[in-house]
Amino acid sequence: MELDIILRAVFAPALTVFVAALLLHMISRKGVVTGRHALFPDHVAMWLMPLRWMPLLIVAPAIAAHIHLQGGFEWPCTTSYEWLPVAMVIGAGVSVVPSSASSPKVQLLATVVAAASAMFTLKPPGLGGTRYQVLAAAIAVLASLGAAKPASQLRVAPFVALWIMAACASVLCVLSGFAKLGIVLGALSGGSAALAVAAAISPSVRLGRGGATACACALAGCMFIGIGYDESDFPWWTWAMLAASPALMGVGMRFVPATRSRTQACVVVAAPAALAVCAVACAVLLSGVLTRQPAQSSSGDPYNSATQP
């Protein structure tokens, strides 16, 4: 893999969202830029808060990487893989609602709609049936609901967790033979790392409930596409484990008391990261992808011709 591709498809989008998040933070914060007066009135500044746009910000690097690798965006899409950015945009677009709505019912409804609309956009080869899309959407909803609370209460930990999960997913895709999808997930991972730094600098940068939904949809979508194009015969449940790993972010919030905030943050990162690493390890060990012997050519026997008498 060329360093140039990594720079342009992974680092450049990550740097862009880092700058964009900080810019949104600065222009939406009262008095930071102007000294004494806010740059925008309150009602406008509310709309420019990074939290509100986090669903789009978090998946933007992955979409940018996809478009860069494809050399543009062609419509209509001809392959299942080309539908991936469309699914990501739909998922992230609908996810803006849970980041803005205050009613739990509306948030839940928006999460389900985001996951379903994103997964029903995708029809990976051999997995075109509705049951697969329903299963993928269910995993995305589960991941989103599990990640919602830590994403809205913690600043840096959710981004770090997503950084590790997306990196593991990227490794799985590269090992499956699909380098482009690996780079797309690398961009998602890089963007998360950049936003983790931005969150450490700026208190208004958080993943939020909407960001968690967008990430869950993006990760589930990538895994759904990945399993369809898998050339290494990884067990299907390893892909599902990776897609569901954000759900374990909720473990830290559920079982660790809020008073121990550092431990809580560590568990929020460690639990999904452990599941993601475990998924990659299982896939590699069970498929023997790293130890497999070169395949024999199918044309070994010159007398095995169907046309030979």
Binding site: E2, D4, L69, Q70, G71, T78, T79, S80, Y81, P125, G126, S176, G177, F178, A179, K180, L181, G228, Y229, E231, S232, R292, Q293, P294, A295, S297, S298, S299, D301, P302, Y303, N304, S305, A306, T307, Q308, P309
Partner: protein
């Protein structure tokens, strides 16, 4: 009488043994020797119209060549090739090629590379399981060479291409008439939407394709 008979018996035995062993040797040796072509002139020449040949997938293959990292020429092949071709020796009229190659059969002698080539980064074998060439016209260049124009469908994109086709020969070695062709063409893979590594020249855009075809006369 008895003495005379005893004198004749060795001669008879020697002659009989020689005759039997010669016959056996001839009989056994004949199938092991390569059979000479039954016809000096191929059977198809006897007929006026073009004849249809079914591609023999074992003795046919498609090779591709692309430059890697601006340095070496990298070769790969497709093992599964099927279809048929129609022709009459020495004539461009009626010449037709209808060839299908299974993308899944891409073979570079490296399992990891094969997987990568089958992925959507390159051929996207699960979306586009086969590539096809269907000829539309043929023009004679010389006695054994033809320019065959046809539609090449690769990666879901169909483009009209011209292949330089060389007639290799036709013979019947005792297993029915067989004919052979070798086709060469040069394509730009980006024209077919396969753009991975093109922009920086890591993997060349120009791909040379060589298709070796051997076909058996189709049974009517």
């Amino acid at each position: 009488m008895i003495t005379t008979t005893n004198h004749r018996r060795p001669w008879l035995a020697i002659v009989s043994l020689s005759a039997v062993s010669s016959a056996l040797m001839l009989g056994l040796a004949q199938p092991q020797e390569p059979a000479a072509p039954k016809t000096a002139t191929p059977p198809a020449t006897a007929t006026t119209g073009p004849q249809v040949f079914t591609v023999d997938d074992v003795h046919s293959m498609a090779l591709f060549r692309v430059q890697h990292f601006g340095a070496g020429q990298f070769w790969g092949r497709f093992n599964d090739i099927e279809g048929n071709f129609t022709f009459a020796p020495g004539k461009a009229e009626g010449m037709k090629f209808d060839i299908t190659i299974k993308v899944e059969s891409v073979d570079t002698a490296n399992d990891d590379l094969n997987k990568h080539l089958r992925s959507p980064d390159f051929f996207s074998a699960k979306d586009f399981p086969s590539m096809t060439f269907k000829s539309t016209s043929a023009m004679k260049v010389d006695d054994t060479t033809y320019d065959v124009t046809g539609d090449l469908t690769l990666h879901g994109v169909t483009k009209t291409v011209v292949a330089r086709v060389e007639y290799c020969g036709m013979a019947d070695m005792g297993r029915g008439p067989k004919a052979g062709f070798e086709a060469q063409l040069l394509i730009k893979r980006s024209d077919f939407g396969i753009k991975y590594g093109v922009d920086k020249g890591a993997i060349g855009n120009d791909v040379k394709i060589i298709v070796g075809l051997e076909g058996a006369l189709a049974k009517k």
